[in-house]
């Protein structure tokens, strides 16, 4: 009965106990095929071991980490510090800081807080926005819920602007329309934008 790899591996690691150890040694002394297998397992183990990180490779890291630990931990008294400075607050000072925060937040809220009160889901559009300056961004699965200007038809946008009291005049750039009704189809250059996005992804 010959030896299996697991016993040979255990023996190789010096982890096989008596009486099995002596039995394996005896067997290896006369069984050539087991001896060959044992040698190849030993060679495998030595090959794996030889790929170990060497002390020369380790030394640089060892010095660097020690220097960092010495600088930040070992030579310092154990005080809680923030950004390298010890922070001390008396109670009135702390109250003062807290009050300043409250004032700043309250002020900000009173100035900008009621912006969100508008219930119209359309984006804020004002006269300084030029459609040519808007870069269409491809909507991905994650941003489906976020509406961009592209999600509205020209008609809706015009209606909204009209509702806000703007007078909008649309011109075609380069092509002369035969029929005034054609106007609507030209303004937003969506297909071009789609193509550029696809190129980037590839």
């Amino acid at each position: 009965m010959c030896l299996d790899d697991q016993i040979l591996n255990t023996y190789l690691d010096g982890e096989l106990e008596e009486p099995w150890k002596s039995q394996v040694e005896e067997h290896l002394s006369y069984c050539t095929s087991c001896k060959i297998r044992y040698n190849s397992l030993k060679k495998l183990r030595d090959t794996v071991k030889s790929a170990a990180l060497t002390q020369e490779e380790i030394q640089g890291s060892q010095d660097r980490v020690l220097a960092m630990l010495e600088k930040n931990y070992l030579n310092k008294p154990a005080k809680k510090k923030f950004m390298g400075k010890e922070i001390k607050f008396t109670v009135p000072q702390f109250m003062g800081v807290a009050a300043a925060f409250v004032i700043v937040f309250a002020g900000a809220l009173s100035l900008f807080g009621n912006r969100s009160a508008s219930s119209i889901p359309l984006p804020d559009v004002n006269s300084s926005i030029n459609l040519e300056n808007i870069t269409p961004v491809k909507a991905t699965e994650t941003s489906v819920t976020k509406k961009t200007l592209d999600d509205f038809t020209l008609d809706e946008i015009l209606k909204y602007l009209d509702g806000k009291g703007y007078s909008v005049d649309i011109h075609l750039k380069s092509i002369q329309p035969i029929d005034p009704a054609v106007e609507e189809t030209v303004v937003v250059e969506e297909p071009v934008a789609e193509e550029t996005v696809v190129e980037v992804v590839e």
């Binding site: 090959t47 170990a52 380790i58 070992l74």
Partner: protein
């Protein structure tokens, strides 16, 4: 000898004695020296900050190895997740990186080292940890069992299976080398 991890003199002693072992463990799990260095640093900071008492040097060693092993495995898992999610983007720069940077100057020894490191890197976590602790940290079965919280016979089986995997991988690589 009792070890107080917050005591500077003892800390330095532990550091000098154990840094190389920890570095090997971290490196042979992550196969990235910068990451391994960060992990060791992190482990020693925890060790010092926690100000613990260990009954012996071996106990502090097992504690540190366990911390380093866990940090390293976490890094590998995180990395694998990131790679999966940015696979498409990564394809381009990876193709641009040419493997012939070192050209013919690369020594045979380095090549076989690289092959072995790749072979270890492809092992499943449970086998890789055992083989790293065995071959690179020099722990015996009992110590490995203690670090990993598994029985000695379980360690024995894992070492055996890990070597079987490594043998298959290395034999295949040798065949494929032109």
């Amino acid at each position: 000898m009792e070890i107080k991890s917050g005591n500077e003199v003892q800390f330095r002693q532990v550091y000098n004695e154990l840094f190389p072992v920890l570095m090997k463990v971290a490196y042979h799990i992550t196969y990235n020296q910068d990451v391994a260095e960060d992990i060791c640093q992190d482990a020693f900071i925890r060790f010092y900050d926690k100000d613990m008492v260990f009954p012996s040097m071996d106990d502090s060693k097992f504690w540190l190895i366990r911390v380093v092993k866990n940090l390293a495995l976490n890094h590998v898992k995180k990395k694998a997740r990131e790679n999966a999610s940015i696979e498409k983007i990564k394809k381009v720069p990876m193709a641009a990186l040419n493997p012939f940077r070192d050209g013919a100057s690369e020594l045979l020894l380095q090549e076989s080292q690289q092959t072995v490191r790749k072979a270890v890197a492809q092992l499943p976590d449970i086998y890789r940890t055992v083989i790293v602790l065995k071959e690179y940290a020099g722990l015996d079965y009992r110590q490995i069992g203690k670090v990993l919280g598994i029985s000695e016979s379980n360690v024995k089986v894992r070492v055996h299976r890990a070597r079987k995997d490594l043998e298959v991988y290395l034999n295949r690589e040798e065949v494929n080398v032109p």
